[in-house]
Amino acid sequence: MSKSNVPMARSGGEGGDEAELVLDPRIQESIGRSLKAHYDDIVNTPVPDKFLVLLAQLEAQEMRAKNGNLS
């Protein structure tokens, strides 16, 4: 933690070898919101059809294999 001018605070508890510095909670919150925005932006993108097609094919294959075993 050298040249950083990011506001820091001592983290409580945990004691021991690595007394870590933690970020200002407001900055943590801001980063958290950006993380969610990044992730949710992709989550909310429509799923390409190829994945549904692939799973339907795998399921159909398994059905055929099962039916084959029964007869």
Partner: protein, 186 residues
């Protein structure tokens, strides 16, 4: 669990798998290849999934292992030749929120992999510290310290130097989220 229930479970997790894969590989194209491999492996090993445990955590473990064994090198090559997805992905929302999201993604891509993956898992996917620790095969304390280092590094990269910097970000994040939900409506 029937094959059809398992299939439905996989379908529900695809959006999360894509988002995690993109965060790991830095490329949407690689992410989709990675998701396809993950689905094939999951299907082939479905008997190893224990019903009642987190399907997301199980799938993330497969995806992560696949990434580190097969994709990591390709990811770097793609990023070198095409630039990261950060520059190409953001194609909706208003101008201001684009820039903020693109900037954030560029900063995220600069984090060491081991920090980036835990920050995403803990901060965005809804996985617990315990699940994240299990997926990565390390102790919870290690996850916590990686998350702290990742946040500090991100704050430096984004030059969030003071509370004054937080105002506009708050506003634009809301704008990004609105942009996202518009996409769902399409």
């Amino acid at each position: 669990m029937s094959a059809s229930d398992f299939k439905d479970g996989l379908i529900k997790e695809i959006p999360n798998l894509r988002a995690f894969a993109a965060s790991l590989s830095g490329s949407m194209q690689l992410a989709d290849d990675l998701v396809q491999d993950t689905l094939l492996k999951a299907w082939g090993n479905s008997e190893k999934f224990e019903p009642g445990t987190s399907l997301r955590a199980w799938l993330f473990t497969i995806l992560r292992n696949t990434y580190y064994s097969l994709y990591r090198k390709r990811g770097r090559e793609v990023q070198d030749s095409e630039g990261t997805y950060a520059e190409r992905l953001a194609t909706h929302g208003n101008q201001e929120s684009h820039l903020d999201l693109a900037d954030f993604r560029k900063a995220l891509a600069k984090l060491p992999e081991e920090q980036r993956e835990v920050l995403i898992m803990v901060g965005a996917t809804g996985l617990s510290y315990e699940e994240t620790a299990e997926i990565c095969g390390v102790a919870i304390g290690t996850i916590k310290s990686r998350v702290n280092r990742a946040r500090t590094k991100l704050a430096e990269l984004l030059s969030i130097g003071g509370v004054d910097d937080l105002g506009p970000d708050r506003k634009s994040t809301a704008a990004i989220q609105r942009g996202g939900s518009e996409i769902v409506g399409l």
